[in-house]
Every structure is written in structure tokens, then in C-alpha cells.
């Protein structure tokens, strides 16, 4: 392998890894392995090193717990959007108005989502501010870049959807929920093939951006050294430590995600009993049934809740700081 390729591959690894192994690894690559297989092997392991860094074993438990809960929340947001858009504008929405069981379960999910949002804002605000201050003070571009990942990802997804919306004659074809195979679409709608293509691209892009955002948030918190924040409110000085302050909102967020999961589960059971035909109609994303869409959502909700619930007890441990 030539020196330039070896240097490029070595540069894919995280900085702490390069500091320790960079020189010898580069020399190792120059002297020996070559070809596409070696190239992909190194690229894959460099990516894994970013996901599960060696130093991660030494990381404090508390920042890691906040990172895991925030990642779980990002995934819950995606599953919640899928759940909402599956029901919106479908016969399930009408069924909910007629059935108290369905509407009660829906209200539980809605209340849970409001509590989760408030918990997330209260938890994220001091953490984001602390991480941002650390990144600017220490000139840590790596932390700054990772903090920017979620807003940049949201912006990219919005730009893609709006761009495709305009390109397709102002139709919502780029949304995966517009792919409705059994629906006799009006003549001015984009073709079914176009809806499949754009819906598929949107789904793939959303999944990739969600993964990038989750990794970004987790790593930004992981790489930050949180210090006390001092500020004045109503002429009174306050001092808070972001990690200590974020504990209670973190617990609220975890509990709210668990409530939402129970609500979505109960809603599915009620829909299966009381609105069977609408529940099995094709109103899910990418021409799936509402039932399949609900199954996908509940699996994601449950997985995220389990992660958050398993992580949350460490927020109460003083030794975890």
C-alpha cells in the first residue's frame, strides 16, 4: 500500500487512537497488506473505533448514560413520527373519534410525548450549553461538529423533502406514507414508481441521518469535560453542574418514553379489536399496513425504552459522575 493511502486510512481513526497507534499502523500498512479487502477492513474497523472507542471503557458512567438516553429519545421521535403519520389522514383517525378506548390510548401517547419533550429540553439544555462552551473554549472542532450533527441532519432531511416536493409538482410524494399501492391516486399525482423511488430514498436518508445524529450526540457528550455553569437570573447568581442538573429531567424523559410505549401498545390492541379493517388497511409507510407500521413503531419504542430504563438507575448513583 502506498504511503498516501496508508495515511488516509490511518486518518479515519479517532484522534486518541491515532496518537497511540497511528505511526506504527501507518508503517504496518505501507509495508504489507494491500487491495480492496484490506482497504474495506481498515475503514470498517476505523468506523467501529468511532462507535466503541477504546477510551470508552474508562469513560464516566454519567455522561454515557445521558448519551444513551438521548439516543433512545431520537429513535423514539422517529418511531413517533411514523406512528402519527400512519394514523393521520387515514380511516383510523375517524375510528379514534368514535372509540373511547382508542382515543384514551392516543391521549396517553400524546401526554407522554409532551412530558418527554419537556424532559428532553430540560436535560439537553445544560448538557448542550456545557458541551458547546467546552468545545469553543478548548477549540475542539470534533465536539462542535458532533453537536451540530442533529440540526444539520434535520436541515438536510427537510431540504431533501422540500426539494423533492417542489420537483414533483408540489406533491408530498417524497414522504414514505405517500406510497399507497391500492389507492387510486388523482391524475395529477406523481406515478406510483416515482412515489416508491422518492419514498424509498427519503426512508434511507432519514435512517442514515438518524444514525449519524445519534452517534454525534453520544460522542459529543462522551468527549466533553463538563464544568460548573454560572449565570444570573432575576439579579440572583446561580451555579449548576450540567451533569447533576440533568439527572431529574433524564429520569422524567425515561419515564415518559416508557409511558408512550405503553400507550402505543395499548392503542394497537384497541385498534385491532375496535377498528380491525382500518388497522389492516394500507396506510403505513412504503405501502405497508397500519398494523405492520404499528409493529415497527412498537418494537422501536420498546427497544428505546428498555435502553433508557436500564440506563436510568445510573443517574441516581453518585459514584457514576
Amino acid at each position: 500500500m502506498n504511503r498516501r493511502a496508508a495515511r488516509l486510512l490511518t486518518s479515519l481513526y479517532p484522534r486518541p487512537w491515532r496518537v497511540r497507534y497511528g505511526a506504527e499502523f501507518e508503517a504496518f500498512l505501507v509495508a504489507g497488506p494491500r487491495g480492496l479487502r484490506a482497504f474495506t477492513n481498515v475503514a470498517l474497523f476505523a468506523f467501529c473505533e468511532h462507535l466503541f472507542p477504546l477510551g470508552g471503557l474508562k469513560m464516566n458512567r454519567l455522561p454515557r448514560s445521558f448519551g444513551a438516553i438521548l439516543c433512545a429519545y431520537l429513535v423514539v421521535i422517529a418511531a413517533g413520527i411514523n406512528f402519527y403519520l400512519t394514523i393521520d389522514d387515514s380511516s383510523l383517525a375517524a375510528a379514534m373519534r368514535a372509540n373511547p378506548g382508542l382515543s384514551t390510548a392516543w391521549n396517553v401517547v400524546a401526554l407522554g410525548s409532551v412530558a418527554a419533550l419537556l424532559g428532553a429540553i430540560a436535560m439537553l439544555a445544560p448538557l448542550a450549553f456545557g458541551a458547546l462552551r467546552f468545545a469553543l473554549r478548548e477549540k475542539r472542532r470534533d465536539v462542535l461538529l458532533r453537536l451540530l450533527a442533529p440540526p444539520l441532519a434535520a436541515g438536510m432531511l427537510a431540504a431533501w423533502v422540500i426539494g423533492a416536493f417542489l420537483f414533483l409538482g408540489k406533491h408530498w410524494a417524497p414522504l414514505p406514507w405517500a406510497v399507497l399501492g391500492d389507492f387510486a391516486a388523482p391524475a395529477d399525482w406523481p406515478s406510483l414508481q416515482a412515489r416508491w423511488l422518492f419514498g424509498g430514498l427519503t426512508s434511507a436518508l432519514a435512517a442514515a441521518l438518524l444514525a449519524v445524529s445519534s452517534i454525534g450526540v453520544y460522542q459529543a457528550i462522551q468527549r466533553t469535560r463538563f464544568d460548573q455553569l454560572r449565570f444570573t437570573l432575576l439579579h440572583r447568581p446561580f451555579t449548576i453542574h450540567p451533569l447533576r442538573f440533568a439527572r431529574i429531567p433524564g429520569m422524567i424523559l425515561t419515564a415518559a418514553m416508557a409511558v408512550m410505549t405503553l400507550g402505543v401498545f395499548a392503542w394497537g390492541l384497541a385498534a385491532n379489536l375496535n377498528a380491525t379493517s382500518a388497522f389492516h388497511a394500507y396506510s403505513g409507510p412504503m405501502h405497508s399496513t397500519a398494523f405492520a407500521s404499528w409493529m415497527g413503531s412498537i418494537c422501536v419504542f420498546a427497544a428505546a425504552s428498555v435502553i433508557a430504563l436500564r440506563t436510568a438507575p445510573s443517574l441516581l448513583t453518585p459514584a457514576g459522575e
Binding site: W17, R20, Y21, A23, E24, F25, A27, F28, L29, A31, G32, P33, R37, A38, N41, V42, A43, L44, F45, A46, C48, E49, L54, L57
Partner: protein, 113 residues
Amino acid sequence: MRSTRDVVEVENTLGNGHYSDPPLLVLASLASGSKHGHAMIEDIAGMCGTRLGPGTLYGAIARLEHQGLIEPLTPEDRRRPYRITEAGLRTLGAKLTTLHQFANAGLKRLEAL
């Protein structure tokens, strides 16, 4: 009775019997003396037919060093050799004993078929 085709298919699925547990392979390689990266790759390939990729090898080296199971020696012409530690020898012994027991039990079951 199983046909030859079935056996070939199973062998292909299992990677022709190649064993791949990179940290264990690195420890086993260093048990015969200190080595640098290339020497480890060749030694492991000769020992069990598995040729580790560069990322796989250094992933295993970094974690083993982090766990105190191997330690770096002074670099020789930018190539850094590694040697196994006492803790590494104990870990290797324990893992190989488990594997040995597992292999014996598995082979006995195969013989009984």
C-alpha cells in the same frame, strides 16, 4: 446419510473450518515469542489458516494492550513488536482449556452419530 454436497456447503458456511477470534489468535501467536504485526499475521495464517485484516489485527492489539494482556516493546525501524504478559498467558491458558473441553465434547458427539 448426508451427501458430500451437504458437507461442502456446511464447510463453506463455516469458513472452511477457519477459526476467528482475533484477540485469542493474537495471544496464541505471541505465546511463542514477541512479534510485530506482519509476523503475527503470517504466524496466525500458518497456525489456523485465518489471515487477519490490518484493521482486525490492530483492533485486537489495541484492546489486548488496554486490558494489560500484551505489552509493546521498543519499536524496530517503525515496526513495534508486542509480547504477551503474565495476565495474557493466564487468560490464554483459561480460554484454550475451555475450547479444548468444548472441542472434545463436540467431537465425541460427532463420533457417536
